[in-house]
């Protein structure tokens, strides 16, 4: 019985992790940026979504959409105000751009965290689930919301796969991750592609944030942990590998759930961290990494 519960809970949280990690990998693969403000974007989406659903009285569905929009706006701010100026800056030597972008996004993440804490206080909030009620799966009582989250995550992942593999725009994204210069030679506007990637990223991160708020609750103090778990998953799976991130998300999600259920909830993040250390020592390019 508990095994089934672990299976279901683990699946839900892993799907959520997968969504967040996917956005992170996407941005790294195409834009070359490790966005350390990732957790911040999720938190913004969650808090704004909660605020508009509750205080502004927009109701859960509209609130969720507003939250996702807030995520997209924050992603844009990250790109247009921090990442792009640093990448284009002539004062920074070329080799150091990566490092400065990392530091810049880290600072932005902190600004987001503290700014949100100032506006909303750092108490964690939960959003009303989009679908309330409980379902029984083979005798295990599961909130329907959990099932819906897993379904939504996979639908979005599926849509993303369709976009990248079957549409012209999506294929240009894939090409941009492989050879940006070659792409410009073919006449594609790189700046538009980057804007598109950051928009998609904003939607993914925003959605993950809002869903997390309805599942486990989100507070400004989670921003750092969310970023940390996203890149742990991505490093585990292999930077730049989408399937690696998905696989790693499920490994981490299940490891955490099993630990929480069978050992102790407080030790939740430990096995994933240990696995990460192991991978770093033994196979630094991650499970399925190619770069």
């Amino acid at each position: 019985m508990q095994a089934l519960q672990i299976l279901i809970d683990g699946f839900a949280i892993s799907s959520l992790y997968a969504l967040g990690a996917l956005g992170f990998t996407l941005i790294f693969g195409v834009s070359g940026v490790l966005n350390l403000a990732h957790g911040g974007i999720m938190v913004v989406a969650a808090l704004i979504g909660w605020y508009s659903a509750g205080e502004l009285g927009l109701g859960t569905y509209l609130g969720t959409l507003v939250g996702i929009l807030a995520g997209v706006i924050t992603a844009f701010i990250s790109y247009l105000c921090v990442v792009r100026p640093i990448q284009r800056s002539r004062a920074i030597p070329h080799e150091e751009t990566e490092i400065f972008v990392l530091t810049g996004t880290l600072l932005l993440g902190i600004m987001i965290q503290d700014g949100m804490a100032y506006l909303f206080s750092d108490n964690p909030i939960t959003m009303r689930p989009l679908i309330s009620g409980v379902t029984h799966i083979a005798g295990v009582r599961t909130p329907t919301n959990e099932i819906m989250i897993a379904v939504v995550c996979w639908v979005v992942i599926g849509l993303l796969w369709l976009l990248v593999n079957r549409t012209r725009i999506g294929k240009s994204l894939l090409a941009a991750s492989m050879n940006p210069r070659g792409l410009t030679l073919l006449g594609f506007e790189l700046s538009r592609i980057y804007l598109l990637v950051w928009t998609i990223y904003g939607v993914l991160a925003g959605l993950a944030g809002v869903l997390l708020a309805s599942f486990l609750g989100v507070g400004t103090t989670n921003a750092g942990d969310l970023t940390a778990s996203a890149f742990s998953i991505v490093v585990l799976g292999g930077l730049g590998s989408v399937s690696g991130s998905l696989l790693a998300a499920y490994i981490v999600g299940y490891l955490e759930t099993i630990t929480a259920y069978l050992i102790a909830p407080t030790l939740r993040p430990i096995p994933a961290l240990l696995l990460l250390v192991l991978v770093v020592y033994v196979r630094p390019q991650g499970l399925l990494g190619r770069r």
Partner: protein, 307 residues
């Protein structure tokens, strides 16, 4: 020799140190306390700059090394080893931890290295919390011995320590090792082609950074008389160190001191803003990165070079 004596930088530094040493005569104990912490942060930033500005490796978890030093010393002192041995023990712990971190981390390029250092801090944080029985967990632990109870004496300890570390680190940066590190950081392939063992030199830089960070961590723990996750290991502390080094100017070593003093003082005086003071400081740091990537000190130095 005469050339050094004529150097404006040297005279500026000597005057600044003299003024700083005499500050306890005019300034309140409160400000002295803030400056004491700022001086220790200055050493953290200088050690960080050696790794970042020179070896080109961004260490997102300087608090991993600091935490090992501080907690190592605290645990040893509570076991009864006394201050000097505990400080040595703590520094050794930091060095060992640094080596264990550096060996796999240096096999990776840029972003991987940074991420691994960040993970190291997370692991240390979790280990401290799990073994709360020994380490006091999130509440922290206290040490029986302190360096001194007198504010002035603590201030002079910190100032003296910072000056000595500054001289050593600055000297290292201007030495052959520093030049090789710069080359390794900016163009590792060319440096290797010239016959320098890039990995060995980066490892050396990491060890030096670890030794200084760990030692300063022990000084900090014996100054505050306590160690806790929130004051020593937390990622926000690491970020402050990074901000201080970048604000001051990367690749200058001494800029770290200026940056740390500015940062700590600014955070103190912005305290009335409450939650927003970190926001403002991070915002300023971000603006500096965008518009003055060389930092305050670096900007002055580079202007001098070009002018």
């Amino acid at each position: 020799m005469i050339k050094i004596a004529r150097s404006p930088l040297l005279w500026f530094a000597v005057i600044a140190i003299a003024v700083a040493a005499l500050l306890p005569l005019w300034v309140s104990g409160y400000i002295l306390g803030i400056l004491t912490v700022a001086y220790y942060y200055g050493v953290f930033s200088m050690a960080w700059d050696l790794l970042f500005g020179f070896a080109g490796e961004v260490n997102f978890g300087p608090t991993f090394l600091i935490g090992l030093g501080a907690y190592g010393a605290a645990l040893l002192d509570n076991a009864g080893l006394g201050v000097p041995l505990s400080m040595i023990g703590g520094t050794v712990a930091a060095l060992v931890g640094g080596l264990m971190l550096a060996l796999p981390a240096l096999r990776m390029r840029g972003p991987y290295f940074g991420l691994v250092t960040l993970v190291a801090v997370l692991i240390l944080q979790n280990v401290i919390v799990i073994f709360a029985h020994f380490t006091g967990g999130e509440i922290g632990m206290t040490v029986a011995d302190v360096l001194s109870i007198d504010t002035n004496v603590n201030y002079w300890y910190a100032l003296g320590f910072m000056v000595v570390c500054g001289i050593i680190l600055f000297g290292l940066s201007r030495s052959a090792l520093g030049l090789i590190l710069q080359a390794s950081g900016q163009d590792p392939i060319e440096a290797q082609a010239l016959g320098f063992n890039v990995t060995k030199h980066k490892l050396a830089a990491f060890c030096i950074s670890a030794i200084f960070s760990g030692l300063t961590g022990t000084m900090l723990v014996f100054y505050m008389g306590a160690a806790s996750v929130g004051t020593i290991v937390d990622i926000s502390i690491g970020v402050q160190i990074i901000i201080a080094a970048v604000l001051g100017g990367r690749r200058t070593i001494l800029g770290g001191v200026i940056g740390a003093i500015f940062l700590i003082l600014a955070t103190e005086f912005l305290r009335p803003l409450g939650q927003l003071n970190t926001f403002v400081v991070s915002g300023v740091a971000l603006l500096v990165i965008l518009f003055f990537p060389d930092g305050m000190f670096g900007y002055l130095l580079r202007r001098g070079e070009r002018g």
